[in-house]
């Protein structure tokens, strides 16, 4: 039941981010994006990935969206100017996305569809208690997975930190005002 709420909320707000009927102002789509982030973190909680849910809210909803709003305010865009909806690109978009989604759905059916449903249910029944007990995405479990020597995630972790550093330097350079 909780899953339907969160999933429905996520999809709805995602739609509103993209095709916002009320006003063309980007701030509203930013707000709806925040709602999507929150509902996704809700889904994470449902799936037992508590640490990730927290991180999702902290990083995405908190930092990224604030950054977006900050940039929108900085550029103070008036989106109202061009109202006419470019039908051609809309049709193109829907066609492409529809094709891709259909392919995705059909592949889902074939792998996880009714055919494999019974097998799935049977396997799922005995597997249910084992997995819920075992995989709890608590911070401690995730930390162990990340830093234990066997998993080999240590090197990527270091690389990511370097990546963040590079990103920061890049941003500073890019947004520096030309001296002239």
């Amino acid at each position: 039941m909780l899953f339907n709420i969160f999933a429905g909320l996520a999809v709805l707000s995602a739609l509103l981010v993209v095709l916002n009927p009320l006003s063309r102002n980007p701030v509203t789509s930013a707000m709806f994006l925040v709602i999507t982030m929150i509902s996704i973190s809700g889904l994470f909680v449902l799936l037992g990935a508590y640490f990730l849910a927290a991180v999702q809210i902290l990083v995405y909803a908190g930092a990224v969206m604030v950054l977006f709003l900050f940039v929108i305010m900085l550029l103070d865009l008036q989106e109202i100017a061009r109202r006419k909806l470019n039908l051609v690109s809309l049709a193109m978009g829907i066609l492409a996305v529809g094709a891709l989604f259909l392919v995705y759905k059909s592949s889902l059916e074939s792998t996880y569809g009714e055919a494999s449903q019974q097998h799935e249910v049977a396997a799922d029944a005995d597997q249910a208690e084992a997995t819920t007990a075992k995989v709890v995405g608590s911070t401690q479990a995730l930390g162990q997975a990340l830093f234990s020597v066997g998993n080999g995630f240590i090197l990527p972790f270091e690389i990511v930190s370097v990546l963040l550093l590079v990103a920061m330097v890049g941003v500073i350079l890019l947004s520096r005002k030309e001296p002239g």
Binding site: M92, G93, A96, L100
Partner: protein, 588 residues
């Protein structure tokens, strides 16, 4: 004995090579070597004749399984006779040209080419298989090209040489195909193997092959379709005309016919050869009547006499042809050398209407020329009479129409020869040079005298009682011809004939426009074909195929460029479509 045979062949080649390599610097040495070589060969021939009997030696030149080509010598009565003619008259002409070419600056080059010619001529005479004969056939062609085009600074001489060579080449083409057919049918090229390998059922093939081989002879002996080159070949020095276009080269075709007579005997090729011979002799005689250049008249008379010989072979008697060939060689060479001495005396004046009154100015040339003319016209007791009468006799037995043609040609021969003789030697000198003309030095007149002997005596070689009908027919023609020519031309200032028969004279003078016809034919067919080939080469291959590929690649480039619109959304769209297609493809 074998060494003697090989020496006959190789002496002239040796002299040509020595002169070519170094001796050309000094005139005397090269002249001595060349004359020595020819005379040496002549003596060796006499040696061989005295020794008598058949002789065959050969050296393999090219050998495969199924094809054996070798350089082989075959000495028998036929080749001995021809050797005599070639080396004997060749020697005399060498001595004559010592005098004739004295003040020419390319003196030694002339003798080198002359020796080369004699070498290739002897090669044809001694050849014992087709391929060797073909090799020397071409060598004779090239040496006649070099000699006709001796004064190559004159463009007329260069063109004449080119024309001679190309016409001979057409003949050689037929000859080559003939050889291929004979080889394919009978499996060998040697005359000996061919004669015994010849069996009834291959007659059909040898018929066509025989005719093709006759094409080779046609080219060389200037028979009907391929005769255009002989009159122009007079551009060369006169001794060359004497040697090549009277005695030896043109006779090579007849000699070859006699040599391979066993191949064409009894096939349909015989009639064709007879008719072509007859036609050539008639046409050439007609043309000769209206020529003014002394050498051209003699050239046409050679053509018509050759027509006689070919007709004789065509009618089935190679011996009559060979007999006439030998007698004709002597008196025609005499006439040409006589003309040569007249030309030298008149400082290279060749038009008979500028001559006249040479009777008392050049007695020795006059008398020898007189003997030559009598022999040519077939006056009894001279050599020409016996050989020509033999041919007319053969014509009478087998083909009446050709007999009439032969007799009419005899009349024409007498007519134009007496015309030449009267206009050139009798009457009053018509030009300043004619007045001041004086007898040629001994070096030139001695060969004339020496040649006069065989012109008279050669006939008695196999003299036999002439057939009465033929005898009186030829006598009537003889007397009638002389009388008409005498009345028309004695004391005439210009040629009266064109006034009387205007269009006939014009046709004769214009040589029946064969030259123009061939030239037109060549321009139409050859040049257009070549133009077409070049056009295709430039447009289709270079243009279409090369430009084509170049064009299509550029087009493809331009089309692909259109997809780079710079529009972000389009890129995203295509990206999505691409992904979808890829997924469908992989998952399905």
């Amino acid at each position: 004995m074998n060494i003697a045979a090989w020496l006959i062949l190789l002496l002239p080649l040796f002299s040509a090579v020595v002169i070519g390599l170094g001796a050309f610097r000094s005139r005397k040495v090269s002249a001595a070597i060349s004359v020595g070589a020819v005379v040496g060969s002549f003596l060796l021939t006499l040696l061989l004749i005295r020794a008598g009997g058949e002789l065959r030696t050969s050296v393999t030149w090219l050998e495969f399984e199924g094809l054996q080509i070798d350089i082989g010598l075959q000495i028998d009565t036929l080749s001995k006779l021809m050797l005599c003619v070639v080396t004997g008259i060749g020697g005399l002409i060498h001595i004559f040209s010592l005098g004739y070419m004295k003040e020419d600056m390319d003196f030694s080059r002339y003798f080198a080419f002359l020796s080369l010619f004699v070498f290739s001529m002897i090669g044809i005479v001694l050849a014992d298989n087709f391929v060797m004969m073909f090799i020397f056939w071409e060598l004779v062609g090239i040496s006649s090209y070099l000699l006709i085009g001796f004064w190559f600074d004159k463009s007329s001489a260069a063109d004449a040489a080119k024309k001679a060579f190309l016409t001979n080449r057409v003949g050689d083409f037929g000859f080559l195909i003939g050889i291929l057919m004979v080889w394919a049918a009978l499996g060998s090229v040697g005359f000996a193997d061919l004669s015994n390998a010849l069996s009834g059922e291959t007659a059909a093939v040898t018929g066509l092959a025989g005719f093709l081989i006759f094409c080779g002879a046609m080219g060389k002996s200037a028979q009907f379709p391929l005769h255009v080159w002989l009159p122009d070949a007079m551009e060369g020095p006169t001794p060359v005309s004497a040697l090549i276009h009277a005695a030896t080269m043109v006779a090579a075709g007849v000699y070859m016919l006699c040599r391979v007579f066993f191949l064409i005997d009894g096939t349909w090729a015989m009639e064709a050869i007879a008719w072509i011979g007859g036609l050539t002799s008639l046409m050439a005689a007609l043309m000769a009547v209206q020529q003014d250049d002394i050498k051209r008249i003699l050239a046409y008379s050679t053509l018509s006499q050759l027509g006689y010989m070919v007709m004789a072979v065509g009618l089935g008697s190679p011996d009559a042809a060979m007999f006439h060939l030998s007698t004709h060689a002597s008196f025609k060479a005499l006439l040409f050398l006589g003309a040569g001495s007249v030309i030298v005396a008149l400082h290279h004046e060749q038009d008979i209407w500028k001559m006249g009154g040479l009777r008392d100015r050049m007695p020795r040339t006059y008398w020898t020329f007189f003997i030559g003319t009598m022999a040519l016209c077939g006056v009894p007791l001279f050599s020409g009479f016996f050989s020509k009468e033999a041919i007319i006799d053969v014509a009478l037995q087998s083909n009446l129409l050709l007999f009439l043609v032969a007799v009419f040609v005899a009349l024409l021969t007498t007519f134009y020869m007496t015309r030449l003789f009267i206009v050139a030697f009798m009457g009053e000198p018509r030009s300043a040079q004619a007045k001041r003309a004086k007898e040629s030095p001994a070096l030139m007149t001695v060969p004339l005298l020496v040649l006069a002997v065989p012109s008279v005596l050669a006939g008695y070689y196999n003299a036999h009682a002439p057939n009465p009908l033929v005898l009186c027919a030829s006598l009537v023609m003889l007397v009638f011809g002389m009388l008409v020519a005498n009345t028309v031309y004695s004391g005439a200032k210009a040629d009266p004939l064109p006034a009387r028969f205007v269009w006939l004279a014009k046709a004769m003078r214009g040589r029946f426009w064969f030259d123009e016809m061939y030239q037109w034919l060549i321009d139409r067919v050859q040049e257009n074909l070549a133009k077409l080939a070049e056009a295709i080469d430039r447009r289709v291959i270079a243009g279409l195929m090369v430009r084509g590929t170049h064009g299509t690649t550029e087009l493809a480039g331009r089309v692909l460029r259109l997809t780079q619109t710079g529009n972000l959304k389009a890129y995203a769209f295509w990206f999505a479509i691409g992904m979808a297609a890829l997924l469908v493809f992989t998952l399905s």
